[in-house]
């Protein structure tokens, strides 16, 4: 998550993600959209790839890139952590409330005779 935030903090890398969101592009095609040098773009591609935001595929001598749908789960994973933690707490609270206050909960928790 932190890696993805850092990767996406750079405006050019966000532009690259936009370019390869719905299509696969070669490194050269991506570089043609920018004024900066090809090695600089390669560096950005490496950062995005290392953050699992891009997939890389070789086609002969070309390297093709596109947005990785799995890597794009960063924010969703973050939101999901709300639900994972929250639902675990909800389960604990509701189950504590449902238990009869006086009687020990033997049916499921305990194996005592």
């Amino acid at each position: 998550m932190d890696v993805q935030i850092r990767a996406l903090a750079e405006p050019r890398r966000r532009q690259i993600m936009e370019l390869v969101r719905d299509r696969e592009l070669a490194a050269g095609q991506i570089a043609s959209h920018f004024e900066v040098t090809r090695p600089a773009i390669s560096q950005h591609l490496t950062v995005l790839k290392d953050a699992s935001l891009l997939t890389e595929r070789r086609d002969g001598t070309r390297r093709l890139y596109r947005a990785d749908p799995a890597g794009l789960a960063g924010l969703k994973e973050f939101i999901d952590s709300f639900w994972i933690t929250g639902l675990a707490r909800l389960k604990a609270a509701a189950e504590a409330e449902a238990r009869p206050p006086a009687a020990p909960a033997q049916r499921r928790e305990g194996n005592r005779p």
Partner: protein, 136 residues
């Protein structure tokens, strides 16, 4: 946990009847027992759904469906954020009675992704702030 195309799904079993579980989605006194520390809830279609998660994060939206004790649906987003503003996504919760317990299914749809919002510089900082904030 399943994450596919802007959608989160969870299904859990709770050893409590749907009536008890349902209250945790509509009762402002019970809501903080599982999420955030303060909730403002007006559980009727169009009514406010707001939860202060911690100092830097407040989740807000409004109720769409309130059908006790089986179904509750509300919109969801972060206050002060342009990428995922209040009401921009939808949470749908279904409770099904199951032998004295409840099967809870939660589906959260309409989630954006920061990489796909190139013009919003604000979200990343906000997200970093959320990630860096202590768990409440």
């Amino acid at each position: 946990m399943t994450i596919v195309d802007g959608r989160i799904e969870h299904e859990i079993r709770i050893e409590a009847p749907p009536e008890i579980v349902f209250a945790y989605f509509v009762d402002p006194d019970k809501y903080p027992a599982w999420m955030g520390r303060q909730a403002t809830l007006d559980p009727r279609p169009g009514g406010i759904y707001r939860c202060v998660v911690h100092d830097q994060a407040t989740v807000a939206g409004h109720y769409l469906t309130v059908d006790p004790p089986h179904r509750v649906e509300f919109t969801w987003g972060f206050e002060g954020n342009d990428t995922m503003p209040p009401g921009s996504s939808t949470v749908s919760v279904t409770l099904t009675g199951d032998g004295g317990g409840t099967r809870l299914r939660l589906v959260h749809t309409g989630l954006p992704h920061p990489a796909l919002e190139p013009h919003d510089q604000g979200w990343l900082g906000y997200l970093a702030q959320l990630v860096g904030a202590p768990a409440s």
